[in-house]
């Protein structure tokens, strides 16, 4: 058994009376692409923020390679948040340089190459781009780091199906075998064949954690169908 890269130990996070994450324990082995799935408000984004050290646990702890989140863990985590934190007035080129200065593991040439493939001009300010193109730029930034852990919060939410394919291809071709990637999404059917394993979250706890193929074997259903059944409104 390989050592886990991320571990949750009796993790809870409450906001007032709301339990966003509720006594969650789980350990994640390295080298996998994992889907973090659950209905709205099931705790997906909160979990990402806890891994990143952007939120402090109310109880329990998160361990990254055996350590609590810190400056060191941020160096090995490449995080795509659900909302952008980039300044709209910045040109794509400025943002590239910003990332290049900020992260030792940022591969500028790779990022430029990906932007060229997409036909995005580095001289353009971010605010002139469409929503879909903005999302692509952010994904390129995140995927151009050579991190050990990638956390992608809803990377394909706002883009059209063709762009979705581009994003999936970008993820697959830039993914290193020893890296761990956690992707949260609602668009399960588009992306489930890319996952090794999925974590199904319900009310801040784990409903199921299994490999995609073993879910298909055990239920005779795709993860998408299972999700619709379990979380039927």
């Amino acid at each position: 058994m390989t050592q886990s890269i991320i571990e949750f130990q009796n993790l809870s996070k409450t906001f007032g009376k709301t339990k966003a994450v509720d006594n969650l324990s789980l350990s994640i082995a390295p080298g996998k692409i994992i889907g973090l799935l659950g209905p709205n408000g099931s705790g997906k984004s909160t979990l990402f923020k806890l891994i990143n050290g952007l939120l402090e646990p109310t109880k329990g702890q998160v361990l990254i390679e055996g350590q609590a989140p810190s400056m060191e863990s941020k160096k090995i985590i490449s995080y795509l948040p659900e909302r952008t934190y980039l300044n709209d007035w910045m040109k794509i080129r400025d943002i590239l340089n910003f990332f290049h200065d900020f992260y030792e593991d940022f591969d500028l040439v790779k990022a430029q190459e990906m932007l060229r493939v997409l036909g995005l001009d580095e001289r353009h300010p971010l605010k002139t781009l469409s929503k879909g193109n903005k999302e692509k730029v952010q994904l390129i930034l995140v995927m151009s780091r050579k991190a050990k852990i990638y956390l992608l919060d809803e990377p394909i939410g706002g883009v059209d199906p063709a762009a979705r394919d581009f994003i999936l291809e970008t993820i697959l071709s830039n993914y290193q075998e020893d890296a761990t990637m956690i992707i949260s999404t609602h668009l399960i059917s588009d992306i489930e064949k890319v996952f090794d394993e999925v974590i199904l979250l319900q009310n801040g706890s784990v409903y199921d954690y299994d490999s995609v193929d073993s879910i298909r074997e055990k239920t005779g259903k795709s993860v998408d169908e299972l999700f619709r059944e379990v979380f039927k409104c």
Binding site: K32, L172, E177, K193, F195, D196, S214, K221
Partner: protein, 123 residues
Amino acid sequence: MPWNFDNSIPIYLQIIQEMKRRIIRKELTPGERLASVRDLAKEAGVNPNTMQKALSELEVEGLLETERTTGRFVTSDQKLIASLREAYLKERLQPFLSELQSLGLSEEELMTLIRSQYKEAEK
């Protein structure tokens, strides 16, 4: 060539089936070198680990062979490919035969029917 996946069946099993079909159809020829796991995974739009698992199973069956430094190849064993083809055809034929038998078709009727359909198709 596009890869189409059925939703309810494990993906690695579907990859195995598809690779077998390609070998039978000679789209993958005996002794041919395969693309890397990563490239194949990208082409099929699947997780590289899933592709790896499917290829390993095909290796166990002897349909693929790995040479440590040069990569992965389709077997050159013609006998093995012939028996794969036979098994595949039988597997395809079986549900079709059971269906027709359940409709009360005799062997003779069936053969006559197939022959006449063949002629139709040739026209």
